[in-house]
Every structure is written in structure tokens, then in C-alpha cells.
Chain length 344, copies 3
């Protein structure tokens, strides 16, 4: 395809020769015929050496020797360029004869339900839903339209999934929350987890992520939120609109994230706390208290990121700091007699 | 149902009007007709504003204006109140025709075995066991009575599960331990994992949790222990009676937790170590050494919690501390001549 | 079996009586008739008290009173001794009648394909491959020979798996990478994940581990690498030859680990970084920058391990250090008049 055609389709400005493009590649791997991109400063250094035939670049980047597609948002343009060439594997249309559809379930038009899928009683499946092989829906699950559920996902009883939700393989939606009342012999009484999970429109859930049902009420993932793989959402938690949770993040019960919160990988939340809109919680941090809107916090326990950056810069120097304090003490605190006796 | 009837069934003392109750709700969401509860101090502030019709409260709480159910253990009473109104989804009784039961397997009375479950040779399934659809048991697995195994769980060859055990979706019991002997070319020789996993009575295992089989002997989860989601139990580890492991905890191989140990989310254990009875390991901590019974430890690497609390309080002040030491050094350590020359 | 026969089969030198051995056991559990071993210094203390009949020991260990098998590599000898007595459960040969093999798929000789396995179109399955029940392969997956894939594993479209690879239960290979371009309303545009996952020969993948497909190109796990359970490999990452990743490790996107890198449990990598050959990243550390070959790093954020060990030794003494600085300040910084007035 001509670079100019791609420019039209993805909304970029062509600078340079209108070369023929055959695919989209990463800047290090790209070869002749490839369109590549730079959206992360770490990769600017590869612009001079890449063998790509053309490159997607921000309007603010300096001129380059190869043909370029200029845009204010090179990452978005890259996404759209990928779509131009991408021919995704499509699941088989229709309902596979081995799929088990229990009584009382309603199924919309143009669905794809794969082999050995098991759908419990009284479920509702919207239009154009794709259930890959081996998906299991417990009874009374409700899926909106255009939902994609990958193989080995389980959605437990009574959970509600919005439109255009994508659930990657092995995720578990609606497992029992972790609730036990201690009893006198040292054991525990299981608290019935009577609530469910509600996932709103346009959410994506990562592979092997687990989202527990609430003891009462609902665990809620709001519109547009994106959860990576192996994330844990405790019972009764709420993840706000357009939140982004990287892999292996954990929310204990009743954690509430506002809108547009970004959480780095392996970060944890102690539960029963609120995180304000657009807060950023960096990777591996541990949050046990409420977080103000717009705050950027780091560390375990977490505090303000700017201060944390300065504190962790000191941390490797602690042994040296101790030496310095010891030296001061020698000078100042020892008895005058001793002090003199050591001087030459 | 009358509040007095609930009081009778859950063993509480009714204070105030005998109102009609229709369900149990969280204190923030509760409306007219709802019974709510406070068991966590963070929610006391909602007592004045809740729209609930009645509330479960500790005997030690001050009087309230609405009808209350008083008890020494409001969390346990809440659990029992939930049961009064909860009508859980029940799996289909009997053995689904698509379930595969291999030869030599013995199955007790009144079981429910779901669609596409696969049960290997020579398994033993106790009375009233529920295997949800898509459960896989490898050969020679032994399940006690009243066990509940959710969809997409796998129990590997030779593992033994006690009575009343609940295994949430996607958990893997008995995967190969992570054992490799380094060989001379830089590669590894796989150590056969010849042991199994033993899970005693009344244990609950969270969704997508993994428990590895031992190289020799057994990985053991003792009676009453509760493991949350995405927990990793390395080969040969032992989790003591009534331990509580929050989500994403990791035990490397041959970690031994005593009785009643509490482990916060995302905490890790280095393996080949012992944790004494009733120790508490707080969230995200990292433990590489034995832990004394009753100890409370925090941090990575972990040490005594009371000291850790004081140390992490200092941590954000490190940049300031460095400044203070520098100031002292300027006063003390520099040659007198310099010192004077800088003074006005 | 006679101890001398075992010595011959596993390549050890027999010292002491040629006793009869019935099994291999851990040193604490071993009883009469058992062969045990010591390969970890923590267990040397049990040599005097073990009830084993014989022991595998390093050539460098002092003499013992019981019969011993001496070798330069006791851990490897232990692995081989286990094999002598181990009779692993073998899956059923052949293709189970309920397995679904889609059109265009080629299957090598002597495979075992379990019940309810689902294999997409145009897959290639090598000789002697074992797919346990409920394995799902999306279309165009290519498996080498002698691969073992355990129940509930999913391998997504177009992924390529080498020879002798072992994939433990519930692992997800080729789920969509976590890529979203922010758009103006606060939402996100999903970046098509057009690449795949390539796993080379002799790799082992742990239970419920997730390996994301690349946006472009491939996520690659090189020959001989071993990944434990619940590990997350982000899109476009590369794990080098013979790397060892302990449980719950997380690699964000485009992380590149060199050859023979060892990563401790729960460690995380920020992505878009390179780790040099034979680097060691200890448990729970967090790495946001490139790591030099052979470096040993620790902490979050991670730095040189030797320095880290000294810094964490100071950390619990921080409250004390603050007191010491305060004391110095009292001596030095306060006005002389005040200073005198406080002295007796």
C-alpha cells in the first residue's frame, strides 16, 4: 500500500517520498518495506539506524532522512496503522454443537459460541458476542453486545458485563470474596459473598486476572478501565472510569479508585480506602491510606513521589551517612579527656 | 422478616423497634428495609447518615437512634444475617452426561459433577461433592466429602483434599514444583516432582492460586487455612492450621508457616524457613529468615513491625536528615579558617 | 534396590555399606530404607539425626556414619535418584474422541491428546506431544516434538512452541499485550496486538503464568529458560537463554533479559530496558533501568546488592540515627546561652 494511502486512513501528514509499505514493525526489527514509529523517547536513538522505509513521528520531532508520517499523536497513529495491515483470526460464527446452553438463557443475533462453552440458566448474551471455546458462564450472567470472552474465562453467577468488554484468557470474574469471621476456636466462619461483579462498557480485563464478587452490593469496574494480567480486585472494590491497572496489581477489599487513576505493576492497596481522580500510584508501591486527587505517590508505604525520589536517592548512601554521623560524634560527644588523648 | 426473628436466628440482642427487614446491605448503600452493620472502625462515621432501617453493632458501641442488634461479635453476626436472606445458586444435582469418569474411580452419594468435567483413573470422590463444569482431576486424586471445586480448577495426580474444602475458579493444585539442577552447559536438569499436595479439612483456596507438588513428600495446607486469590505456594511448603494468606502472597519452596499465621497481600517468603505460630507478616513484606512465634514483622527485608513503623516514618525525611548532617559537618569538621571566612 | 546399583545409575561413589534402598526422601521425613540428600547448607544440621539409610553428599562434605553416595553435584544426583524410583502418571496415548481437531491441522506420530482439547485450524503438532484434557490451541499454533501441555493451558493464535517445552496448568501463552493509546475524552484506543509469542526448546512455563503476544514482532522466551508460576511477561519482552524467573515475577513490555539471568520471586521490571547476561535480580526488587552483565541488584528501586545489604542493615536503625543527629544538633547548633542554661 502506498504511504500516502496509509496517511489518509490514519490521519497523518506525509513528508517525503510516497513509498510502498507492506507492514508495520518495531523500529529495531523493521526492514525495507516496513513502516515503523517512535512514540517513546527511549527509541529516538534508533531513527538513524532503522532499516524501515518510513516512520510515524510526532510533529515536534526534527526532520528525518526517510519518508515520515507526521501527527500530534504518533502512538495513536501507530495503533491505526497496525489495523490497516492486521487481519485478525476470527472465531467461527454460530453456536458450536458442543456448547451447552441452559434453559432460560437468551442469546442475541450474530454471536459466536465456541466448543465446549457452558452457559448456565437464565443468562443473557447480547448481539455479536464472542465466547471462545471453554468459556464458562454460571447462571444469570448478563453480557452486553460486542463482548469478547476468551477461552478458559469463568464468569460467576449473577455478574453483569457491559458492551464491548474484552476479557482475556483465564480471567475469573465473580469468585467469592475473601471474607471470614474469626471464631473462638481459632477457625473461621465463611461470610456468604452475596453480591456480584459489575463491569461497565469498554473495559478490558487481562489474562488470569481475578475479580471477586462482593459480600453485599457489587464490585464495580467502571467504563473504559483497563486491567492487565494477574491483577487482583478484592470484594466490594470499585475501579473508576478509564483507570489503568498494570499487571499484578492488588486491591484488597473495598478499595475505591476514582476516575483516570494509573497504577503501576505490582502495586498494592490495603483496602477500605479511597484514591482520588487522576492519581498516579507507581509500580510496587503500597497504599494504606486515602490518596488525594492528582497525587503521584510511590514507595511501600507510599508517599509523595517527588519526595520519594529524593529519599530513595539517599537510601544507598545510608551506610555512608552512618559513618558521617559517627565521625561527628567522635568529634563532639566524647569526653574532653579522651578527645585530647587521641590527638597527636 | 421481623428484626426480632433475625435477632433470634443470629444470636443478637434487639434494642429498639421490631421493624421489618428485607435484606442485608453495606452501610453506605443501605436503604429503607435494610439491615446493615459496623464491624470496622472506619465505617462508624456512617452510622449517623445511613438510610438503613436497623444496624448490627458491638455491645461496646454507644446507643444509636435506629433499631440495633447488639452482639459481642458484629462481624460474625453480619455473616449469619447474610445467610438468613441468601439463596445461593445451586449446581445441578447428579453427574452431567458429558462428564468423563475414568475407570477405577469411586464416587460417593449425592454428588454434583458438571458438564465436561474430566476425572482421571482411580480417583475417590466423597459424598456431596460439587465439581463445577470443566473441573479436571488427574488420576488418583482423593476428595473428602462436601468439597466444592469451581470451574476450571485442576487437581493434579495423587493430590489429597480433605472435607468441606472450597476451591475457587482457576486454582491449580499439584503443578510441578520449580526444581532444576544446574548442569555444566548453563542449562538445567528437571528434578522430578514425585510428591503431591495434601489439603486438610475446611481449607479455602482462592481463584487462580497455584500450589505446587513437592519434589519428595508433600506440600501441605493444614486444617482451616484460608488462601486468597493468586497466591503461590512453592513445593514442599507447609501452611499451618488456620493460617490466613491474603492475595498474591508467595511462598518459595519449603517455607513452613505455623498455626494461625496471618500474611498480608503480596508478601513473600524466601523458602527453607520457619514462621512461628500466630506470627503476623504485613503486606508486601519479604521474609528471608525464621520468624518467632507471635512476632509481627514488616518491610523487605522484614523486621519487627513496631521498629519498622518508626523507620518508615523517618524514611521520607532522609533528604532532610542528610541536610542536617551536612550542616553539622560544616560547623564541626571544616578547618577553622574556612569556617570563619564564610561567616559575615 | 541396592545402593551400589543406584550409585552406578546416577554416577556417584559409594562409601560404606551397600544397603537396600526403597525410595528417596527429604532429610527430615526420611526413614529406614530411604535414600536422602543434602545439597543446601541449611540442612547439614539434620545429617546427625536423620533416620535415612543412606545419603547423597558432596565430595567436600566430612565423613558420616551412614552409607553415603559421594558426588561433586549432590543436587543433580538427587534429581537422578528420584528418577530411579519415580513412576510418573502417563496420559492416555492417542487422540480422545471428544478432542476437536480443526481442519488444516497436522499432527505428528505418537501424540496424546486428552478429552475436550480444542485445536484450532492450521495448527502443527509435533511428534510425541502430550496435550492434557481441556487444552485449547487457537488457530495456527505450532508445537515442536515432545512438548507437554497441561490441562487448562491456552495457546493463542500463531504462537510457536519449540521442542521438549513443558507448560504447567492454566498458563496463558499469547494473550493480548496491554497496549492502549490515550484519546482525548480520557479513554483509550486499543492497539492491535498483531505479533505472537515464540517459545524456544527446553523451556518450562509455570502454572497460571501469562505471556502476552507482541504488538508487532514477537515476545520471545529463549532456549532453556525456566519460568515459575504466576509470572507475567509483557508484550515484546525477551527472556534470554537459560534464564530463571521465580514465581510472581513481572516484566512490563519490551524488557530484555540476557542469557542466564536469575530473577527472584515477585521482582518487577519497568519495561523498555535491558538486563545483561548472568545478572542476578533478587526477590521483590524493582528495576527501572538497564542492568550490567553479571550485576547483582536488589531493592525497589534496585541497586548494587552489596551496597543494598549494607543499606538495609542501617534501615531499622534510622529512628536511632535521627536521635543521634538531634543530639549532635543540641550540642552544636543551639545558641551558647541556651546550651549553658540547660547544664546543671
Amino acid at each position: 500500500m502506498k504511504l500516502s494511502q496509509i496517511a489518509d486512513r490514519i490521519g497523518c501528514r506525509l513528508v517525503g517520498e510516497d513509498v510502498e509499505i507492506y507492514r508495520v514493525s518495531g523500529i529495531e526489527e523493521a526492514g525495507p518495506g516496513d513502516l515503523t514509529f517512535v512514540a517513546n523517547k527511549k527509541y529516538v536513538r534508533y531513527i538513524k539506524t532503522t532499516k524501515a522505509s518510513a516512520i510515524i513521528l510526532g510533529e515536534d520531532m526534527p526532520p528525518v532522512s526517510m519518508p515520515s508520517l507526521r501527527t500530534d499523536d504518533p502512538y495513536l497513529a501507530f495503533a491505526k496503522a497496525l489495523e490497516v495491515f492486521f487481519d485478525p483470526v476470527r472465531p467461527e460464527p454460530g453456536i458450536h454443537p458442543t456448547a451447552i446452553i441452559s434453559e432460560g438463557t437468551e442469546i442475541g443475533p450474530d454471536v459466536s459460541i465456541g466448543a465446549y462453552a457452558v452457559i448456565g440458566k437464565k443468562c443473557k448474551i447480547g448481539a455479536r458476542v464472542t465466547l471462545y471455546p471453554h468459556v464458562v458462564l454460571y447462571p444469570e450472567v448478563c453480557l452486553g453486545s460486542d463482548v469478547i470472552v476468551h477461552s478458559h474465562v469463568v464468569i460467576r453467577e449473577g455478574c453483569q458485563i457491559g458492551n464491548r468488554v474484552i476479557i482475556q484468557n483465564g480471567a475469573v470474574i465473580g469468585s467469592d470474596g475473601f471474607g471470614f469471621a474469626p471464631i473462638k476456636d481459632g477457625g473461621f466462619y465463611k461470610i456468604p459473598q452475596t453480591g456480584a461483579v459489575v463491569i461497565e462498557d469498554d473495559v478490558e480485563i487481562g489474562a488470569n486476572t481475578t475479580i471477586d464478587r462482593a459480600a453485599v452490593g457489587a464490585t464495580i469496574i467502571r467504563r473504559g478501565a483497563k486491567l492487565d494480567n494477574l491483577v487482583q480486585i478484592g470484594h466490594g472494590s470499585r475501579v473508576g472510569e478509564n483507570c489503568v491497572l498494570a499487571a499484578q496489581v492488588g486491591l484488597a477489599g473495598s478499595t475505591r479508585l476514582g476516575r483516570g487513576v494509573w497504577v503501576g505493576g505490582q502495586a498494592g492497596f490495603a483496602g477500605h480506602l479511597e484514591v482520588g481522580d487522576k492519581a498516579v500510584i507507581t509500580a510496587q508501591s503500597g497504599t494504606a491510606h486515602d490518596v488525594a486527587p492528582g497525587a503521584v505517590i510511590s514507595g511501600s508505604p507510599a508517599f509523595e513521589n517527588a519526595l520519594w525520589l529524593r529519599a530513595v536517592a539517599v537510601f544507598p548512601k545510608l551506610p555512608d551517612l552512618v559513618q558521617r554521623v559517627r565521625r561527628l560524634e567522635k568529634q563532639i560527644l566524647q569526653p574532653k579527656g579522651n578527645d585530647r588523648s587521641k590527638k597527636p
